[in-house]
């Protein structure tokens, strides 16, 4: 092994998450609370940063517990794990954004972190000004940017508009410019969050390509991702974080295999008891049923059938529940998103739900996935805030079916989705 680049010793991070407010049932209680509120608010805000030594209250969570990790120069380390496993916290500690509660992190070499592209971009500034601002935020010197400026602009393909205020840019142009700045960073240690890889496929490719180049130049890279195939392709080593601890460590394929086995095991657990969920809990998904058109439970889904996903919810929040949005994301076993269904996109926001329990139903006609195993992420939003989100909420098995209704089972081809279509001949 080469020289050490990052040494993490006994690092833990404690957060306090807000406890829910009590609900008042009558006016006097409400008034009393109204008067008491500032005092309570103050202690709540103050407690965000104050912990007594034995503070293990309900609202304290350890996002990371006693992490030890050494990364060597030239390694590309993938960090995988579910939502809430501590991946993002680890990145934030490594990038110095947040300070560990215990332990110590040593980094040897110039370090840059990319948790977002275009940090600090201001709409009123021109592209040129934003390049300099964003570049210096990422840790570059002005002289360094001067030197690379022409290359950055060329890479971004917007040279004609470089002196136009960036509020006049399309969102694509903004992202291209922001990414161009990031691509010309030359750190020895690079920390990347996969949220970077949002955007269109071409952009993702560019992103991963740049990472690949950087690693070939001997850079040390730490890479957080849900995209297991990217981790498998790019990384030389991977760790799996689970509830703030390193569960496994080793070659990417080994780590991924262990992680997937665990995910599959968990998908069978009841949704009601799942702990690895995000959101404020105003609505909780307690059951997910897969039904056919007649409402009967489906064991397997065959491609092309009309069916429904029924998300049963429960809620203790104040009624009615306003502005409820629901969604399901479908992933293959490598963590690639196949497609998603979101009620807000189909314009079916449930403006007001008067019941504490019920079901939100997503009807899909001609189920488009080819045979295989898929994982579902399901979520509910209430009033624009995340109420509940469960990754790997369920595993579904899809078996071959007559998608096109032609009596012919489509041949087994890996990947992709089926799309209803027709051919004709024009002469």
């Amino acid at each position: 092994m080469g020289e050490q680049a990052v040494i993490v010793e006994g690092v833990s991070k404690r957060y306090r998450i807000g406890l829910e407010d009590e609900i008042h049932t009558n006016l006097s209680e409400y008034l009393f609370n109204f008067i008491k509120r500032p005092i309570k608010n103050f202690s709540k805000l103050r407690k965000l940063t104050r912990f007594s030594n034995d503070d293990e209250g309900l609202d304290v969570i350890w996002a990371l517990k006693n992490i030890d990790l050494t990364v060597f120069t030239g390694e590309v380390l993938g960090i995988i794990g579910r939502n809430g496993s501590g991946k993002s916290t680890l990145l934030k500690l490594l990038s110095k954004i947040s300070i560990p509660t215990t332990g110590r992190i040593t980094t040897i070499g110039k370090i840059s972190s990319l948790l977002e592209v275009g940090t600090g971009f201001h709409p009123e500034l021109t592209g040129r000004e934003n390049v300099y601002l964003n570049g210096t935020i990422l840790g570059m010197r002005k002289s360094e940017i001067d030197m690379k400026f022409d290359q950055i602009v060329e890479f971004s393909e917007i040279s004609k508009f470089i002196d136009t205020p960036s509020k006049r840019y399309s969102s694509g142009m903004k992202v291209r410019l922001a990414f161009a700045v990031a691509a010309f960073l030359e750190p020895e240690i690079l920390i990347i969050d996969e949220v970077l890889a949002v955007g269109d496929a071409a952009f993702q490719q560019k992103c991963l390509g740049t990472m690949n180049q950087a690693s070939q130049r001997g850079r040390t890279i730490l890479f957080v991702s849900h995209n297991l195939s990217a981790v498998s392709a790019l990384c030389t080593r991977a760790i799996w974080l689970d509830q703030g601890e390193i569960r496994a460590e080793g070659t990417p394929d080994n780590t991924i295999a262990l992680y997937l086995r665990d995910v599959q095991k968990d998908s069978s657990a009841s949704l009601r008891d799942r702990e690895d969920r995000e959101g404020n809990g105003k609505m909780r998904i307690v059951e997910l049923r897969v039904e056919n058109e007649e409402g009967a439970l489906l064991e397997n889904i065959s491609s092309g059938i009309d069916m429904s996903f029924v998300m049963r919810y429960e809620s203790d929040a104040e009624l009615p529940l306003r502005g409820v949005k629901a969604g399901i994301r479908f992933f293959d076993s490598f963590g690639n998103l196949k497609f998603m269904c979101r009620s807000d996109i189909t314009r079916e926001t449930f403006q007001s739900i008067p019941n504490r329990s019920g079901s939100v139903v997503c009807k899909i006609s001609q189920f488009p996935l080819p045979p295989g195993e898929y994982y579902l992420t399901i979520f509910l939003k209430v009033g624009g805030e995340w109420a509940d989100l469960i990754d790997h909420a369920a595993k579904i098995s899809v078996v071959s079916g007559d998608f096109f209704g032609t009596g012919r089972i489509p041949p087994e081809e890996k990947g992709g989705v089926y799309v209803n279509h027709a051919w004709e001949l024009r002469l």
Binding site: E3, T49, I99, T119, R141
Partner: protein, 278 residues
């Protein structure tokens, strides 16, 4: 691969306090402060017709309103100088002070997202508007010069102390600015309280009235407001209305040093947790 001896080693330790100044870091990120300040300046007047003209117009309009209401109608004394230039001489440092404080509080709230996404010396966020406002300040000083010619006022020799007064003004602004931004990030109340607080402090400063109105035995307490000495000092230097008010400037300077050091200390202590509380 570069020679490892030139590589930098950074240690983030849960138990170690950061030093008050991290010179290496300030050197590394120095250009960022420059561009943040530039951003503050260029965005301040963007998409406005008058642009930098506002830097002239605002204090002048304030002066006119003060002159009509406090000078003519309320007949507040001006130690013998024309009320217009008497009030303008104090409006210049006061406008810098109040808009810088407002700007630094807004800066940290407007950029809360940035704090959670990347590391850079947090102190640059409140400093940028404080530095950027120096441009407005300089412009209003030029206008002051024009007014002096217009009113034929002859400056006293004390004008040589003007840079010292400006230094006190900047340091007091930085000190107070650091305090309130560090508080504002956790307690958003500060954002709402700040405009009230500034108004309150305005009545405690010789803006529309001369400090000679304050009874002698209270002057030392009055001087604890750093801006009192600065504003009255401006008048003394430019209008010769009163001798240099050292009895106000001295307690003010002490207060300034105290605010500056404690503000820096508190900010450095608090910035460790900024990302966790925004």
């Amino acid at each position: 691969m570069k020679n490892r001896t030139v590589q930098r080693v950074a240690i983030i330790d849960a138990n170690k306090r950061e030093s008050l100044f991290n010179l290496q870091e300030i050197r590394e990120y120095g250009d960022l402060l420059y561009f943040l300040t530039l951003r503050s300046i260029t965005t301040q007047y963007s998409q406005s017709v008058l642009g930098v003209g506002w830097a002239v117009l605002r204090p002048v309009l304030t002066m006119i309103v003060f002159t009509v209401i406090f000078g003519r109608l309320a007949k507040i004394g001006s130690d013998g100088a024309p009320y217009a230039i008497f009030s303008y001489a104090a409006v210049v440092p006061w406008a810098y002070f109040s808009s810088s404080l407002q700007g630094s509080v807004n800066s940290i709230i407007a950029n809360a997202n940035m704090i959670g996404k990347i590391y850079f010396p947090r102190i640059f966020l409140p400093l940028a508007p404080i530095f950027a406002n120096l441009l407005d300040f300089a412009i209003s000083l030029v206008v002051l010069g024009v007014l002096m010619i217009w009113f034929h006022s002859v400056p006293s020799l004390w004008i040589l102390f003007l840079p010292l007064l400006v230094l006190i003004m900047i340091m007091a602004t930085v000190g107070l600015g650091l305090w309130i931004t560090a508080l504002a990030i956790q307690y958003r109340d500060v954002k709402y309280a700040i405009s009230f607080g500034i108004q309150f402090l305005m009545y405690l400063s010789p803006l529309v009235y001369p400090a000679s109105l304050i009874p002698g035995k209270y002057r030392i307490f009055y001087g604890l407001n750093p801006m009192a000495g600065v504003m009255e000092g401006f008048r003394s230097a430019i209008l010769q209305t009163v001798p240099m008010p050292w009895d106000l400037i001295l307690p003010g300077t002490l207060m300034t040093v105290l605010l500056f050091l404690s503000g820096l200390l508190y900010f450095r202590f608090k910035e460790r947790v900024f990302a966790d509380v925004v």
